[in-house]
Assembly symmetry: C2
Homo-oligomer: 261 residues x 2
DNA sequence: GCGATCAGCGGCACG
DNA sequence: CGTGCCGTTGATCGC
């Protein structure tokens, strides 16, 4: 158990010296900003980082139940009337937003200096897959020629723009995980834009490890193509293992408008 | 400073008693699963929750640099050769994923019991706005009649389905924040689906506090409508303040295909 | 359990 | 600065 005064001192020290502050105690939480929330009394962990990051964690779940990103202004005061320690975070960045955490009891409070100059090295991002695929377009089909990667058009950003052996434009959308309706809609939007802009017949290809049945149905109805993208994540980088054209069998179109005769 | 043995004991105790564990120290982090990552030596905060949540935080930024959601299996061992404490988290849920945090020095390690039965009460969600709007459709235009909220169609979920005074179907998409291209695409998808399915002329209305210029251009080209949604978040609930039809002036269509005659 | 969408999304990279 | 979009997205809700 820590007195409210001691806890206040610990947080103040963290703020002054640019250190990490940790607080554990029984509190209520109040938030108002883009949305609003209330959380009644209970034990929580409060993490305050030197950049203004402000995280209120409950005992379970991954995400902080209330939070504020870097850049928020933090203040501490003791509410004599309620005999509570109030830690507040305020920012003005997207909007005026504030969080108040009112501690009635503090079980732990301290500050720590974290020395850390390292940045995470991440492998297996979509960008990385896209770059790999860019160099191996023949995996999709022979004669496919890369034109541009990350091509900005008005309706968004095309992962890969290519040309096939018949000089048709090909828009390729790469997904590192299962493609859903949103991914198909995205691809359709790009194909639409490119074909109109260039006034050329344009193909659209979705490359993803899997695709939901619904999404595949819509994709094929829109005249787009799906290739199953099989990839492996080595530690220095990812590697494309295979790429296989997939198509629904005709009889699987069981809700097609045309009967099968 | 805490000895590796003591730190191991603290984590073990947390695991046994279903408590929250906090570890601060100099470590390396290794992750492999849906992606892979490496993080070289530095000071970090490790949070382990009773539900298996596993968070590695650096000194800045909101998000944990490496993480694992609830349900992961945690283990601790001391690597005698390297004289390090290795805390690992493994799960199999979406895939086999593991994180290893190798501590060479531990500055702090303890476990805490958090008693907390409360759930966050959040106000101002899209669902809430949608419900409010459902009861005030006349704010959009007189004679608009609500048919259904949260209507599932094959291509997704329609926020509000209504009928106007001419008995045309109206698909309404509500956004609590700025509408972008994706939101417009989504609405267009629903309108397309509904009009085909019911074989009726169908309108599409986007209600959002703001809309990006790009999105507005695309929306109007698709023949959809935008209403500026002005709302306020009181604490017990949100309130719709106003709803105003917005339309681009003709001269703003500077890249329209048709000249203005 | 899968599937689609929301999130106080956050964060990044490019115009 | 906006704007689009990825994310080891996570979390929720409806089927």
């Amino acid at each position: 158990m820590v007195s409210l005064e001691e806890a206040k001192k610990a947080v103040g020290e963290a703020l002054n010296c640019g250190r990490l502050a940790l607080l554990i105690g029984r509190c209520r939480v109040f938030y108002e900003g883009r949305a609003a929330s209330k959380l009644s009394e209970g034990d929580r962990l409060l993490v305050i980082k030197q950049d203004g990051t402000f995280l209120v964690h409950q005992a379970t779940k991954m995400h902080a139940i209330n939070y504020q990103g870097p850049g928020s202004r933090i203040s501490v005061r003791i509410d004599e009337g309620e005999n509570a320690l109030v830690v507040s975070s305020q920012r003005t960045k997207p909007l005026l937003e504030r969080i108040d955490v009112k501690f009635f009891e503090v079980h732990f409070a301290d500050s720590f200096h974290l020395r850390d100059d390292e940045k995470l090295k991440l492998f297996g991002s979509e960008r990385e897959l896209s770059e790999l695929l860019m160099q191996d377009l023949h995996l999709i089909e022979p004669g496919l020629f890369p034109l541009k990667q990350e091509s900005d058009i008005r309706k968004g950003t095309i992962d890969i723009l290519a040309e096939d052996f018949r000089h048709r434009l090909v828009v390729i959308e790469v997904k590192r995980r299962e493609a859903g309706l949103d991914a198909v809609t995205q691809l359709a939007r790009y194909v639409d834009e490119v074909s109109k802009r260039k006034d050329k017949a344009t193909r659209g290809i979705m490359c993803a490890p899997t695709i939901t049945p619904n999404a595949l149905r819509m994709l094929e109805r829109e005249g787009l193509e799906y290739f199953r993208l099989d990839y492996e994540i080595g530690n220095p980088s990812a590697r494309i293992r295979g790429l296989e054209k997939k198509q629904k069998a005709l009889h699987e179109f069981n809700d097609s408008k045309e009967p099968n005769t």
